[in-house]
Symmetry: C2
């Protein structure tokens, strides 16, 4: 059944949760034409939400931390959407089950919305779908949208970096401090959180992180905006300890961006990212269309490459030339 997209957009406008949920499903699973329709309709309505990113390795307690931040933001009268971006395989059902468990903590509160999004093995999936899901949540009128990404790999950090304010969460005992320096997290973090700070090793982790930050600044390779030094906060999210201070740090960073005119630059970067991802996804789709079936173009090119009849770059040239013809 094709959803009536315009009816869903109207429903979103009226604050209907069901319409919101179904539009997010369109973003995840819809046809390119449906997505295009939804984005075109919602784009004029979006542009007011604050986007926060929370990223960290599995096991640091990110979900608990995110929920605690949401509770604190609600207490301050703000509405909150959580988008848990998760490279899960589709079959575990873990994401949806997790949503249900997490919603119980907020289930009497219409001002909190939680949604997980999995990559479903989609090439370029998350960095393609996430900004569009953010657009839907933004158009739905939430004050704060928290993008929670599992992991600190390349794609997760890329996604987190599109937020207005990016939090990197760490925990003691999750591999040595050197891990913290990886994945480019020093460059993208606006706020560091050491969660599970009541466990042993929190002090050592903080010192290591501090040292790496100082080294990064000394060599000018941490090139954040002038005047903002990422604070390192300690939390125990399961006991809601340190959350008030964390939310204060988020608000301080929001104020910093506004007073230095940097918020607009971040939004502009997010828009550039979205436009580029849409164009790349369109290119991927063209490649896929040219490659359908056993005698598809990509398969034929790969066969010639393996016969050493063609080198991989020339094969890529042929794929590009064919896709230009197909698109024009």
């Amino acid at each position: 059944m094709t959803p009536d997209l315009d009816a869903l957009v109207d429903g979103l406008e009226r604050g209907e949760r069901r319409a919101l949920a179904r539009l997010l499903t369109v973003v995840e699973d819809g046809s390119p034409e449906q997505l295009r329709h939804v984005v075109a309709a919602l784009h004029p309505r979006a542009g007011t939400a604050r986007v926060l990113g929370i990223s960290g390795s599995p096991g640091v307690g990110k979900s608990t931390l995110t929920d605690a931040v949401a509770t604190q933001l609600r207490a301050a009268g703000r509405t909150v959407a959580i988008l848990a971006v998760d490279p899960s395989s589709p079959f575990t059902g873990g994401a949806l089950l997790g949503d249900r468990i997490r919603m119980q903590g907020h289930h009497t509160d219409a001002g909190v919305f939680i949604r997980s999004m999995a990559s479903r093995g989609h090439l370029g999936g998350l960095s393609f779908a996430t900004p569009q899901a953010v657009l839907v949540l933004d158009a739905a009128g939430f004050d704060d949208i928290i993008i929670e990404t599992v992991g600190v790999g390349q794609s997760e950090v890329e996604i987190a970096a599109t937020a207005d304010t990016t939090v990197i969460a760490l925990a003691p005992g999750m591999g040595d401090g050197v891990q913290a320096a990886k994945a480019g997290i020093l460059e993208v973090a606006d706020v560091f959180v050491i969660n599970k700070a009541d466990a042993g090793g929190a002090g050592r982790l903080q010192s290591e992180l501090q040292g790496m930050l100082e080294m990064g600044h000394a060599t000018a390779e941490v090139t954040d905006e002038p005047g903002w030094w990422p604070p390192i906060l300690r939390t125990v999210a399961v006991k809601a300890e340190g959350i008030t201070e964390l939310v204060a740090a988020l608000d301080a960073h929001t104020g910093f961006l506004a007073s230095h005119g940097l918020g607009a630059a971040r939004r502009r970067a997010r828009t550039r990212h979205l436009v580029r991802e849409l164009a790349l996804e369109s290119t991927r789709r063209t490649f896929a269309r040219l490659s359908e079936g056993e005698d598809g173009l990509l398969e034929a090119l790969a066969e010639r490459v393996e016969r050493r009849d063609l080198d991989p770059y020339r094969a890529a040239d042929e794929l590009l030339a064919a896709s230009r013809l197909a698109a024009s």
Copy 2:
């Protein structure tokens, strides 16, 4: 100084380590033209190596495990190259330091080569550079190439999945078993390793993993080749325990692929991946060229999107149309 690429290719042919190292640097840092030249020259010489992938979260002891596997393969008379693919930020120097420390374990042995590769914040960087580095190592004549990726995020799993045989390493106590089900690792793993198996919780982790595998098979969503059930092995890599069994499992999978004619299919998939990534990277470069400077095309489009003069999909259409014109 521009390296004399043909001299390096000749050096590689003669087994010179310095030429190998410099060609890998070209893959990481060279201009598109240099890369194209190197790949065209080496492609006819490659195609014989076995490619193994080892992936896992930080802290599971992947490097130690990889080194132990390399030592065991060497004992069987095979030459081994390790490509440690790492989304590090460039400034830590961690990767290179790590290489030096790791090389000490093999420093008297010319049959082992270790190289780390970082993403350097490059969009699509690792999945673009890794297959080309594998091509260089393949042309250098190594019997086995081990791609070791840090993390089990989308991009890491994508990279590991291009191997002939993919190992997913886990360890007890690294977050609950549900994490293991994430990131699509059940679908891509040919062999599971529970490292640090002398720590508490190894049995529980094994049971959980076994249960998830059975569920995946029952729902037909683990769609591996018929006839191969991924074994779950236990190792203590620091004591070299279980490594003989692990290498035997790798060889068994190699034999399975060969006897079922599936090796060729995996190679074909790897070639398709390489050709598509080269074409996408070329597209990204065209976008970047069109977007240089403050009045670049992407910036101008983003500005119009934010003015709500253009929706993001139409902006992407304009970017694609301009890139087709620029390329033709």
